[in-house]
Each structure stands twice: as C-alpha cells, then as structure tokens.
C-alpha cells in the first residue's frame, strides 16, 4: 500500500436470498445477484473488503442458521489478515413484520459467541436503525483501516530489529 488514505470503504453485504440486502444498501454499494451459482464470483468482490455485514431475515429462521456458513465463506474466500478480529456486523432485518421467528436473544447469543459481533435489528422498509447500523459499519471499518496504517508505520522498525539478529551478521555471532 502506498500509504495513501482510502477514500472509499468496501463493505460486503452477505445473506440468504431475499433477506433484504439490496434494500439495505444505499446506491453506492455494488450489487450482484445472490443465487448460489453466482457464489464463485464472490471472490472478486471480497478482495480487500473493510467490513462484512451479515444479514438475516428475522422471520426466516433458515436465513439465520446460514449466517455461520456465510461468515465462513467470507473468511475462506476473502482471507483477511486477521480473521479473528475482522469487523463483522450482523443485521436482523424486517423487524417491521409481525411473524417474527428468530428472537433477539438467540441472535445476540450467536453474535457473542463469534467474538462479540455488533448486532442490530433493522427494517429497511421503515428505515429503522439502518443509518445507525451503517454508521457503526463505517466506524468499525475505519478502525480496521487505522490499525492497518499503524501496522504500515511499523515495518521499518521491524526490519531494524531483525537486522540485529540476522544470523549471518558476524557482530552478533558471539556464542
């Protein structure tokens, strides 16, 4: 990286078909088809993502169950530098509907078990929580960026340190 600040954040939104991914996103995020047969194309899009948003439909338990798989899929395909701390956000969408099937508690438990992923319940239709959720997404993504920059600042020192211990260096060969 040239050290130049990114002007854009790349946020990936994943989830089962018709959980409301398209409705959640604003127009600045690229949208592709979500069918299974498109999945192999995902790799091209995952590359260099700053944040991954996992969406499920609170009225569709299967879409919640699949969050695990979506998360794994992302981690395998995107291979982020630090998978344990990669910023995910989970959104339970369609809370405006009456026939809710997945309880808040169940979703929160799952999120806690995955390194405390932030969890929000949204309604893209009513605009509930969407903006706030995306602010958090942006914030978390920026934090990752900041960390990355910190890492980028360090290489020089690391190189210096390793130079001292270079085995081929006769000065250090005192044993």
């Amino acid at each position: 990286m040239s050290g130049r600040k990114k002007s854009l954040l790349k946020v990936i939104i994943l989830g089962d078909s018709s959980v409301g991914k398209t409705s959640l996103m604003n127009q600045y995020i690229w949208d592709t088809a979500g069918q299974e047969r498109f999945q192999s194309l995902g790799v091209a899009f995952y590359r260099g993502a700053d944040c991954c948003v996992l969406v499920y439909d609170v009225t569709a338990p299967n879409s919640f169950k699949n969050l695990d798989s979506w998360r794994d899929e992302f981690l395998i395909q995107a291979s982020p530098r630090d998978p344990e701390h990669f910023p995910f956000v989970v959104l339970g969408n369609k809370v405006d509907l009456d026939n809710r099937q997945v309880s808040t508690r169940r979703a929160q438990q799952w999120c806690q078990s995955k390194n405390d992923i932030p969890y929000y319940e949204t309604s893209a239709k009513e605009g509930i929580n969407v903006e706030m959720a995306f602010q958090v997404i942006a914030k978390n993504a920026l934090e990752l960026e900041a960390e990355a920059e910190v890492i980028n600042d360090f290489p020089d020192q690391i190189t210096l340190g390793s130079q001292n211990n270079r085995p081929g260096n006769p000065d250090n060969c005192q044993c």
Binding site: W30, A33, Q35, R37, Q39, L41, V43, A44, I76
Partner: protein, 1291 residues
C-alpha cells in the same frame, strides 16, 4: 481379414514364414512377439520411423514361377490370420491344385479374394483395412478400451530432451497419444483432452501444455494444421462435456447424425469426417441462427440475384434438413434463410444468356422468387432439394393432456401498459416506420428477407416499438424453434403450474417483483403472471439451467414487446444459442466470456489492461453486463437499442460495447486507485447513458428519481463501438477466444476449488498443503481416467427436452440450505474404485495380497455407507497408513483384520487359494461361477421391482445389489434403471470386481441367528445355496452381499419389509445426492452414522471426521484391562483372523520374517491359548456390552455415556455397537441357536489388542518398518509419470 490383393516384389524381407502351402504362405512380421533379436529391433524401428504400420500377420499368394507375390490377407492376431488360412485350406487348396495354368491360379485367387473383400466390406463401418490396423495398434499400445474411438493418426516427431523421436501421433476422442519405438527404446505418451491447458501451433509444430505443467512438442511434416484443428475441436468437446455433465467427462460421438455427409470415396477415416462436418455444421448453424438440431447437409457454390441491386452476388448455398440458406463471399453483403417448408417450387431456368447459365428459381409460399445462377451441379442440387422437401416434417400442434389450469396468453405488455410518448418521440417512431416499410419493399419481409448491411444500419438506429417483436424473433432465430414446437409452450406452462414445492419456483417468485419494478406493467398481476409463466416454463424445459437470476430481467423486457410465447422462445434462444452456458452452474459461460473480454482489452486497450487487471475490475463488471446484456446497468430505454443490435450481431456486440465503455472512461480509470473508485466511475457513466428518442418510463423508485448526470447517448455509444471495434471483433474470433478461455476458466475453477478445500483441511495431522494439492490433483486425474477408461455409455447429448420432463420429484438442484456451501467439496469425493487405486498406488500397504486391506479400509472409513469417501476421510485413511505413527498403524491393521471387516469366508478362501480336495474345489468353483456370469443377465434374473409378489429376500437382494453398485461406483439412478439398461460399463465393472472376490463377505458373529426365522441357524454357505436354488443367487451382484442381506434385517429393530424398501430407496438416492442419504440404513457402517448422529452435532461432523482416525491413539492408548469405559474397547481377535493379520504384517515388511518376528508370533499364539477361559470377569466384548444400562434408547441408538473422551473414534464405537446389536438381537429374537454363532469367543483362542500391540512393539524390525513414513508427494509424482507414459504396474 481379406484385403484388396496387392502386388509385392520382396515377399520375405522383414517377415518370417509361419505356414506354407503350394500357392500360399502365412507370414509373421519380425519384431513382433517374443523374439528380441537385433533384426527384430531394426524392423521395429523401421516400422515406427517409416510409419509403415503393417499388421503383424499376413498371407501371400505365390506361384512357383512368378517373381510377383500378392498380399491377400492381413491379421492383427494369430487367431485371426489362421482363420483366413483355414478358409483357404478348406475352399481353395483343392480347387487350385486341380488347375494347370499358373496364371489361371493367380487370376482365380485374386478374383475370389476381391469378391470376399468387397463382400466383407459392404456392411462395414467404411473403415479401410489400414485404419483398422492403426486402431488395433492404438488399443494395444495404450491399453485403450474398445469404446475409445480412434479418430486419426499422424506421423510425427516428438522432441524430448532435445532428442527428436520419430513416431506416430494417435488422436482418439478423449486422448492424444504418441508412440515411438527406436532401436529398442519405446516411448509412450498419453494426454487427455480434458487436461489440456494450452494448445498452439507454429508452422509444423503443435505445442501442448497440460494442467500438470507438462509440455509437449510434436512436429509433423504433413497435416499439422489438420491435426491441430482436430485437437482444438476435441479439446473443446471435452471441456464442454465437463461443463454439461461433470459426472461423465468422456466424449463419445454418435456417427449416425452425420452419416449422410459421408462420401464413400473420401480417404479420411469416418470419424474424422464426422468431426469436421460437425465443426462446419456448428459454424453454419451459428451464422444463420438455426435451431440446434440442424445439421449441414452440403454446400454448393452459386450466385444469388439481388433485385434491390439488380446484380448477381457470388457465395455458397447451404442446405440442412429444414433450411435453404445463402451467404455471400463478401462479408455481410447478403444472406438469405429460406425454411424448406415455405418452398413452393424449384425450377431450372435458362434464358439463353451465356453469362448467367445454370440458373434455378425458388418460389416460396408467399410467391417470392429467389434466383440463383452459376450452379455447377445444378441437377444434383435440385435432386437434393427435392429429396429434402419430401422429407420435411411439418410439426403439428401436439395432442396434449388437459390440465385444470386457467390462464390466457398475455400479449405484448406495451399494448396494455402504454407509455405516454411525447409528440416528438411519436413522430420519430413514425419516421422510422416509414423507412422500415421502404426497406421491406426492397428487401422483403419475414424470415426470407435479404439480410444486408442496410438492415444493420436500420437496426443500429433502434427498431420502432411496433416492429421489435417481429425483428427480434427473426434475427434471434427464436422463430424457428417456435415453429418447430407448436403447443410446447402451453404444455410447459400447464405442467409447470402443477408442480408443487419446487426450489426453482421459489427462487422465481422471490425475483418477480424486482425484475423491472419501475415499469407499470410489472406492478400489475398481468405482467407478473406472464413473467412467472415464462420463467417456470423455461425451468421445466431446461432443467440443467433451471432458473438463473438475470433471466428475470431479460424476460421482462421481452414481455414488454412480445407476446409471452414469443418471449419464452426468445429466452430459449438466448440461453441455448446466443449466450451459450451463460446461465448454467457458476454462470460458467459468462465467466468464460469475461476471460475473453479480458484478453480483448489486453489487445485493443493495452495501456489500460495492466491497470484494470491490478484493480480486478474486469471480473467485477462483466458479470452484470454480460448476463443482462447491460439491462441491469444501463437505463431500460437505452439498453433496448443494444438489445436490438444484440439479436442481429450476437454476443460480439456485448464485447464491442464493453470495450467502448472502458475506452471512453480511459483517463478516469487510469486515475483510480482502487476497485471501488473504478466501479463508481463506470457506474456513473453507465447511469448517465440516455436515449433522447425514447420516453423515460415513469418511476416510483426513489433512487432512480434522482437526476443522473447525462454522459452519452446510447446511439453514440453504439455507433462508436461499431466504428472502433466492429471490424476487428468477429464472431469467429470470439469463438476461438472462447475455446481458449473455456479451458482456462474450467482450470481456474479447479484451482479455486482446490485452494478452498486445502484451506479447509490444512489443519489435518498428516499432509502439508502442497501434498493436499497434489492429492486433489491426483484424485481429479484418476477420476477422469477411470471415467474415460470405463467409457460409460454416454447419454446422447440433448439437454433440452422435446417433451418436457417433470422435475418436481427430483429437483435438479439441491435445496439451498444444504447445497450452498457444500457443493465444491463433492467434486473430490472418491468412489471405491478410485480409493482402491490410490491406496494401491500410493501407500506402503499395497504389499498386502492375502487380505484386500484397501477394501477393508474403505469400508471402515465409509461410515455412512455411501460408497464414496469425502476428502477428509480420504486424508485420514491414506494419511495414517503413510505416517510414522507405528502404534496407531498397528492398531488400525488389527482392526482391519477383525470381523466383520475380515469375514470367515474370506479367511477360508485365503487359506485355500488353490482347491485340492474335491469338496474344496466345488466350493471354489461355485464362487468363481458367479463371476463368469454376465452381469446384464444377472440383472434380469433379479426380481422385477414392479412385481408385487416379492418377499423379504427379494428386497434384501435388490438392496444388496444396489449397495454393491453404489460401492462399485456405478451411477444408476435407481435399481430399476440399472435393470432396464444393462450396458457395457456394467460388464466391464464386473470383471474389475471379480478379482476382489472376497470383498463383500462380512461375517458378523452371531449373525446367522439374527436372520428371519426361516434362515435361522443356517450358515452362510447354506443360505447361499438355497438362494442359488431359487435362481436368484447367480452372479457377483447378488452373491456379493449376503452380509448386507443379513445386516439389513437386523438393523431396524422390529422393522420388516417396509424398512428394507426404505433402505433400498435411500441408498439409491444416495448415489444421486449424497446429502439426502442420512437415513440410509442398509449395512453395518450406517449404524455408525446413527450412533454418530446422536453424539455429534452435524455441523461438527467435518471436524470430527478429521479427528476420528487421527485420535485413534487417544482411545487405543488406554490400557485395555481395567478400562472403566468398556464401550470403547476394541474386540478381541480370533486365531484365524490373527493368522491373517500376521501374514499381512509379513507382507508389509516385504515378506521377510526375522527371528524376532517369529518369536513374537509364537508368543502371541501362546498368549491366545492362555487366554482361554482365563478371564471370567472379562467375557467377550459383546457380552459386556449387554449390560442392562446399555440398552438402546427409543430410537434404537445407544445411550451416550456421560464421560466420553473428546474426539472419540466413531468408527470403533460404531463397530462395536453394531456387533453388540447383532448379538443382542440374536439373543432376544431367535430361539434357535446357530452352531457357529453360539461359540463364545472367550472360550476359544483369542488375543486382545493390548496383547498384540505390546508384543509386536518388542520386535525391532516391525517398529522400524511401521515407523518409516512414506512421502506421498513422491508416490503421486510416480503415479502421474506412470500414467503419462503408460507404464505398467510393478506390484
């Protein structure tokens, strides 16, 4: 075989006479057979270098006084030639002896042989004798099966290590092979077409590169270009086969389609002619947009009269069964398509003018005359047309079943939902209409119009709304499909409406409201309903595609301008002809074209290419551009113009527009620093494209309300693309590039898949990630090789059903929950055959010959009884065997020699490999007898599944057979399918099964007693005999699985025939879809699954599989005696099993037994003796498990002990559990006690695992031998080399 008699002057050079008579001599070629003298070697080299390829045997006719001999017969085998010799002896010797004049003798002989030759060759395949010799050599040298058809062979030089080797290049349907024999050195190379990554030709040299990074150079003096094209074509077919049907990546070819093209005079082999015709036909079909079934029937040079220009234009007439077409030599000058059924008359015409002789006039049903001149073979052409006309089949509307569905066909939605156009736009449309009307007057209207550059010019400006349907239908070719299938659409719609619970329908319904939501037509039920019907009907027509997102978007645009039936056929021609493979799995066609675009950018916009490649932009943009023909990225009113051009130009317009879009944004794109920016640049540009000649439909979508910054008119965009890229980007070039990128894309899929799988398994305890990659590669290669050798009878490639298939019962795609994330792993599941090959080729335990360890290991590992191992299971099985974990390996070996894996019958047989006594001989004979039977016969001997009167035995037999088939990797869908179509592959499988005779005997202690009461107390042999008497137990198929028969009965406690049927059905389903086979209950290994299911979360099963064998040690290391957890104890071993176990150890050790080993053996024998009745507290493991608190729970599963060690080995638990159930059942359900089953193991000789291990570990050589790991990478490399060079196995 008899040949056309040939004169010879030097009859004996290179040949040895084998038989003599007065006028005949039978000769054998030197260099064949055992004699390996220098002379033979020279002849061998001569044959190879000079490409003389003579048959090894021949018969000559000679007369004592003449110098000239005649070659009259040749033979590939001695038997063959002797047969001819015998014929001569019987029919000619005497007759000839009676003749006096030698000339008369010769004349008579030659005449006789000639007549024999013609007689024999009349009903033949039309292959010359030379070609037959070539074919048989090819099969012999490369051990190719009969089904692998040779296409042609070329003399070629292969340069290896800078040494050129002259030899013969053989091209068959699935392989390129090379053979050379020079001065005693033989070289063989086998390359599968499916594994080619690069094919190129430079002058006379063909360069090939495989996915394994092997490169080959073949130089040919003649025919290099023909060979190159052939390789390209066959590679294309192989890759397409991979796309269409990944399960049988073998190309087969049906000659009959092309038979009428075959001209008897051509010297080329039939298959080669067919393939060339096929290639030509494809080009022809694509150019004229004819239906897939059309096959070119010939082309004739001719001039066409074009009334609008009042002149003749030269070109070719092309004929196919249903079409008469013409194409001018000058590109795009004029072309014509006339459906045969519209031809009213064909007449000769001669106006006396010398300039335009040999004319014909064709008049269509609309009284339009077409005049052609300068037809050399005019009479032939007329005859041909008349012949075709006589055969033209006018399809009638089909009789169809009535469904209780009420619907009416929707007409073009634009008529119902009228857009309010401004006066200016209406005027513009009317102007266009006037010009189109004028065009129709000059050039004709309808299918038979003269297609010229004038029409392109009109189309580029945008077709008026009123004409869109008509023009789209004609130029897309959809009209032909529609006319050939009257009533099919209605039929499909109604059948589709009857289907319930279909995954594709759910997906369609989800997408209906978001297809073209801004248009009022799709805010109404009319529009939505029509769209649903079109998409559902198509999913039914083409189950391979089903429904793919993006189809909804294009279909909704079609529906605006066309009635719904027309929209359906447009969609069909889009998916099947215009955008091939675009909507299939992984949208593979679009990904291929993405590669093509990438290369085009590199060629035409070189300065941008590197930058875009680095950003990864092309991969991101192209999918939505390609799949929706820009409709999802450019406003609807603008994309219509692109669509107009698309139907005329085909896919090339997409590439032209794409290049133009990138080119237009060149500077901005170069400035972009990341993919997101680049995407935004393109998005802003595309959204800004507008169409000043069309009304923007009113929209309710908030996002689209926002005014976009206008960037460019769609007219300019199209115009510029034609100007800049129209000349260079041709359909032909795209086809060439597609061939290349089809290869690369499929290769990339494999690479991506491998990477993902390796990532998932990299934590395994045995193999590094490089080794994992190599394993995956070899699995893929072996699977393909197995397929191409088995040559399963190919389903004729017709994915499209003339009569619709009902897919509801078996949805072509697995339900998403299960399928989404698992699919990629399945490609690397290995069948028993592949596993066995890998085991034998790669592991040190291949040395075991007394016991088929590979088979035991497979059964032990295949817990679900699916007949396949997943990659994780394979790693564990092979990994442990190749590892240095001596203790675990010994324990594994011990387990593999336990019943039921090692059966009593198997022990018996291995003890008496050759029958000596009469009784033994009889028994052995019976066993062998099974293998000799033809599998197809035995299939019919089985009870018919439709027979209602069968009993439990029948079900068990069906079940057992089915299971065997699963195990053997025969992929029949159901048992019924198998019994109906016994094919060649079955037979070949039988023979391959035969050598593992004992494979499927399983001897469960206490088993016999568990069978239903009629069988109680019988031993296996008796049961066999009885079944045999009943006429059912006659072949390997039925013989094999007597154990399963028993197992199936004991498995579901209290369940009867019904459960067996369920099990049978389940195992049938297992072949189809492994995800569904969870409840397969047909043999012992499935019980383990049940056990496992109760203990382990399904989600964790992968991880557990990984651990199960790996943690063998955990379990096994526990001291045997005094272990509190008796559940996990490994059973004791009987003497017979132990003796075989020891033999296996000796075999693994390389057949050397040192003194220490011998002592250990004696010790163990002694230990076993002293174990008899010495442990009253520790009876057999089975008895122990009979403890009251260990009863199965309500589901028949054992209760889970509270304290279970983490990573418990399921397989041992399962094994034991099964034994427990078996004996438990015998005790509870049967009163009679079988003689053998009642024997208590503790009363006879036995040893425990700990005794075995403890003793064996004192033997240094064994410890050392088992400690030595095997580098699997080296083994794999060797195997690959062996395959490449067609070397034989050493073990």
């Amino acid at each position: 075989m008899w040949i056309q008699p040939k004169e010879l002057l030097l009859p004996s050079a290179f040949w040895i006479a084998e038989m003599h008579s007065r006028y005949f001599v039978l000769q054998k070629r030197r260099g064949h057979g055992e004699s390996r003298g220098f002379g033979s070697m020279l002849v061998g080299t001569y044959d190879s270098v000079m490409n003389t390829k003579p048959a090894p045997y021949r018969i000559l006719h000679q007369t004592p006084s003449s110098e000239v001999s005649y070659e009259i017969a040749i033979g590939i085998t001695q038997d063959e030639i002797v047969k001819d010799w015998e014929w001569l002896k019987a029919n000619l010797f005497k007759v000839l002896d009676e003749m006096e004049n030698e000339d008369e003798v010769t004349n008579f002989t030659i005449c006789k042989i000639q007549s024999l030759y013609t007689q024999n060759n009349q009903d033949d395949t039309g292959e010359s004798a030379d070609f037959k010799v070539m074919k048989s050599k090819f099969r012999q040298i490369f051990k190719m099966p009969e089904e692998e058809r040779l296409v042609n062979s070329y003399s070629a030089t292969y340069v290896k290590n800078k040494i050129p080797r002259q030899g013969q290049l053989y091209i068959s349907l699935n392989h390129v092979c090379f053979y050379s024999y020079m001065l005693g050195q033989e070289i063989k190379r086998i390359i599968r077409f499916a594994e080619l990554e690069d094919i190129s030709r430079n002058a006379n040299t063909i360069y090939l590169k495989t996915t394994n990074n092997m490169t080959y150079n073949f130089t040919m003096l003649f025919n290099a270009s023909e060979a190159h094209l052939l390789i390209e074509q066959l590679n294309k077919m192989a890759i397409q086969q991979l796309i269409h049907d990944p399960d049988s990546p073998v190309v087969d070819h049906d000659t009959s389609n092309f038979s009428r093209l075959g001209s008897k005079t051509s010297k080329k082999p039939v298959l080669l002619r067919d393939l060339t015709a096929r290639q030509k036909s494809e080009e022809f079909r694509i150019y004229f947009r004819l239906p897939q079934s059309e096959i070119i029937d010939g082309k004739i040079k001719a001039n066409i009269w074009t009334p609008y220009s009042k002149r003749f234009n030269s070109g070719f007439i092309y004929l196919s069964p249903n079409f008469f077409c013409f194409r001018s030599d000058v590109k795009d000058l004029v072309s014509v398509v006339i459906p045969m059924k519209t031809i009213k008359s064909v007449e000769k015409k001669d106006d006396g003018q010398q300039r335009f002789e040999n004319q014909i006039v064709i008049i269509t049903s609309e009284n339009v005359p077409f005049m052609f001149a300068h037809i050399v073979d005019r009479d032939v052409l007329i005859f041909k047309i008349t012949d075709l006309l006589a055969r033209v089949h006018v399809p009638l509307s089909r009789e169809r079943a009535k469904y209780d569905i009420s619907w009416s066909k929707q007409t073009a939605l634009m008529n119902t939902f009228k857009t309010q156009f401004s006066a200016k736009i209406i005027q513009k449309q009317e102007e266009k209409m006037v010009r189109w009307e004028a065009h129709f007057r000059d050039f004709g209207r309808g299918i038979g119009m003269f297609r010229t550059t004038d029409v392109i010019n009109l189309i580029v400006e945008g077709i008026p709304d009123k004409l869109r349907q008509e023009i789209w239908l004609i130029f897309s070719g959809a009209i032909h499909d529609k006319e050939m299938n009257p009533g099919l659409y209605e039929d499909l719609v109604e059948k589709a409406a009857c289907i319930k619970n279909c995954f594709a329908h759910d997906e369609i319904d989800r997408d209906l409201p978001r297809s073209l939501p801004e248009h009022p037509a799709f805010q109404s039920t009319d529009g939505i309903g029509a769209l649903r019907r079109v998409l559902q009907a198509y999913a039914l027509r083409n189950p391979q595609v089903g429904y793919c997102q993006a189809m909804n978007i294009v279909s909704s645009v079609f529906l605006l301008f066309c009635d719904e039936e027309n929209a359906f056929w447009m969609l069909a021609s889009l998916c099947e002809n215009l955008l091939p493979d675009y909507y299939k799995d992984k949208v593979v066609g679009a990904q291929i074209d993405q590669g093509v675009l990438n290369e085009l950018v590199e060629t035409h916009l070189p300065d941008l290419h590197g930058h875009l490649e680095q950003l990864g932009v092309i991969k991101m943009i192209s999918i939505s551009w390609f799949l929706t023909i820009f409709m999802s990225v450019i406003s609807y009113e603008s994309s219509l113009h692109i669509l107009d051009c698309f139907f005329y130009e085909g896919a090339k317009i997409i590439f032209m527009i794409s290049l133009q879009i990138i080119e237009w944004n060149r500077d901005k794109l170069l400035y972009c620093q990341d993919d997101g920016e680049a995407m935004l640049v393109l998005q802003n540009y595309l959204e800004g494209i507008y169409n000043p000649e069309y009304q923007v439909p009113p929209t309710t979508d908030k996002r689209k309300m926002k005014r976009k910054v206008r960037t460019q008119t769609v007219q300019t965009l199209i115009h510029e693309s034609y100007t800049k890229f129209g000349e260079e980007i041709t359909q032909q070039r795209i086809e060439e590039l597609r061939n290349k990128h089809r290869r690369l894309t499929m290769r990339q899929f494999d690479i991506d898949n491998e990477k993902t799988i390796v990532k998932a398994y990299v934590q395994n305890p045995y193999f590094s990630h490089i080794e994992l990659h190599m394993l995956l590669t070899i699995i893929r290669e072996e699977k393909h090789a197995l397929k191409s050798l088995q040559q399963q009878q190919q389903k004729v490639q017709c994915p499209l059903s003339e009569t619709p298939q009902l897919v509801s019962q078996s949805p072509s795609r697995p339900i998403q929950d299960a399928g989404t994330f698992g699919g990629r792993y399945e490609a690397y599941n290995v069948s028993y055959e592949v596993f066995h090959t890998l085991f034998t080729e790669l592991t040190p335990w291949r040395k075991c010959v007394s016991v088929d360890i590979g088979e035991k290991l497979f059964r032990l590992t295949d817990k679900k009884g699916t007949g396949v191992l997943d990659f994780g299971q394979l790693i564990n099985a092979l990994g442990l065997v190749c590892s240095n974990k001596n203790m675990e390996k010994l324990k594994l070996l011990y387990v593999l020699h336990l019943p039921p894996l090692l059966s009593k019958a198997e022990i018996e047989r291995s003890r008496r490999p050759r029958p000596r006594t009469k009784d033994d001989a009889e028994e052995a004979f019976e066993a062998e007898d099974f293998f000799d039977n033809d599998a197809s016969e035995s299939m019919e001997a089985l009870p018919s599944p439709s027979d209602n009167n069968f009993d439990a035995d029948d079900f068990a037999l069906i079940n057992a057979t089915q299971h065997l088939h699963n195990l053997a990797g025969i992929s029949g869908n159901t048992f019924m399918d198998l019994s109906r179509t016994p094919n060649l592959s079955l037979n070949s499988n039988t023979s391959s099964l035969a050598h593992r005779s004992s494979t499927f005997y399983v001897d469960l202690p206490g088993f016999q007693g568990t069978a239903t009461s009629t069988d109680a107390g019988r031993d296996e042999d008796e049961l066999q005999r009885e079944l045999r008497q009943q006429g059912r137990y006659e072949s390997i198929d039925t013989f094999s699985d007597i154990s399963d028969l028993g197992a199936a009965r004991i498995t579901p406690p209290g369940a009867g025939v019904g459960a067996d049927v369920a099990a049978g059905a389940a195992s049938a389903a297992a072949v189809d879809d492994m995800l569904l086979n969870v409840e397969t209950i047909s043999n012992f290994s499935q019980i383990s699954d049940l056990v496992a299911a109760t203990r382990l979360e399904r989600a964790d099963s992968n991880a557990t599989d990984l651990r199960s064998l790996g943690s063998l040690g955990y379990l096994l290391d526990q001291p045997d005696e005094g272990a509190s957890n008796s559940q996990h104890r490994i059973p004791h071993m009987r003497k017979e099993n132990f003796q075989l176990l020891w033999r296996s150890i000796i075999e693994i050790m390389g057949l050397v037994q040192d003194e220490e080993m011998h002592r250990a053996y004696e010790n163990l024998l002694e230990l076993g003796n002293s174990n008899i009745k010495k442990e009253p507290s520790l009876e057999s493991f089975t008895q122990l498990n009979m403890g009251g608190d260990e009863q199965p729970d309500s589901n028949g599963n054992p209760t889970t002990p509270a304290a279970e060690p983490i990573g418990t080995t399921r397989l041992f638990v399962a094994l034991e559990e099964e034994l427990r159930q078996a004996s438990g059942k015998s005790r509870t359900t049967t009163t009679s006690s079988g003689d053998s089953s009642s024997t208590n193991i503790s009363e006879s000789w036995h040893i425990s695992i700990s005794q075995f291990i403890a003793t064996v570990l004192t033997v240094n050589s064994i410890v050392k031998g088992f400690q030595t790991p095997i580098q699997i990478s080296e083994q794999i490399e060797q195997l690959q080399k062996k395959r490449r060079k067609c070397l034989s196995t050493n073990y």
